[in-house]
Amino acid sequence: MKARTSLLLGSLSAALVAFALTSPRVVAADKVDPVADAKTFQNFFFQKFADVKHEDFVNGPYSMNADMKRQWQEKEEFPPYEFALDAGKEMFATPFKNGKTYADCFPNGGIGIRQNYPYFDTGEGKVVTLELALNRCREANGEAPYSYVKDEMASLTAYMAFTSRGKPMDIKIPDDPRALEAFENGKRYFYTRRGQLNFSCASCHVQSPGERIRAEILAPALGILNAMPIYRSEWSGMGTISRRFVTCNSQTRAVPLEPQSDEYRDVEYFLSYVANGLPISGPGARP
């Protein structure tokens, strides 16, 4: 016991010495630097998967596995999200009871703007996601909000993503301490372990993309939101970003948060920002 303690102390002091000897280039960890974060994040994936084309990361597990990719390309000729996409197009064009439409709530009539979401609303001091903006639009026009996790919300976001396909993700972080705080918060949420399995989001999607988790192949965190919403064969239906967060939490046996809670909005902000420059590929299909 005693020997062990001294050993531990010995290695600890060695570690401290080693730490003290590291170069002074280490940036203080209390400074929020999204630009550097995004660069580091992207480079990590680009180096880890050197033979994956950069714009291919948005295809999730299909960029990691040749066999799955082949199946997916065949599926894309006749994609399973088509029904949702058509429904979304129809819903988007249908006026509310007051005669207004979704197009009135969004810049450019809501077409080709998905790559700008989520954005930081300086008035509210919070992150506003596309799903949130859609429901706010409905409520402002006297309609009941939709469920955040599937069906109508997935159809609407599918259509909006479709009109933005191929456009690079373009998330801005305004020079506002609250925006930096939101980004940092999202990053913290992403890397914090939680739940009975003690997993963080990063445990799967940074450490192990391309690895199998039972029969599935894990998607890389880079560009993971570019393909949203997705048709998952596992769900035999569509799911939104909110749904993805909720199920990720419950699958690691953590307690999911309410869709569009501050943490989820922040983590969406973080994940979208670090994927800046990668094309929107939604709506997607996943096993």
Partner: protein, 103 residues
């Protein structure tokens, strides 16, 4: 409301390849809803593809087929421009039908 049937048929020489996606809940009757009530069975019983007045593919289905079924098959004896007629009927008596030109 658009048709519940999506179809794409392409002729390649003598062989026509048909891909179909059908929007249908395909409820088994064994699943409970959020209130704990059983969702009654609701499934496609017969799916039929006709070409030039002949049945080329007939399926008698039960509850074991997934929601929004996808069917892919090939058959001989049609050419580009022929018309393919697809129809289904389910256990509640609902049905849908559509036609597609072979390209």
């Amino acid at each position: 409301m658009a048709s519940s049937i999506r179809v794409r048929a392409t002729a390649n020489g003598d062989i026509t390849e048909v891909q179909t996606l059908i929007q249908h809940p395909m409820d088994t009757g064994l699943v409970k809803d959020s209130k704990g009530e059983l969702i009654p069975a609701h499934f496609i019983q017969r799916l039929k593809f006709e070409c030039n007045g002949k049945d080329v593919f007939v399926a008698d289905w039960g509850t074991a087929v997934s929601k929004d079924p996808y069917v892919k098959f090939s058959f001989k004896g049609a050419k580009k421009g022929d018309e393919l007629k697809i129809s289904w009927t389910d256990n509640k008596g609902a049905s849908d039908t559509t036609t597609a030109k072979i390209s």
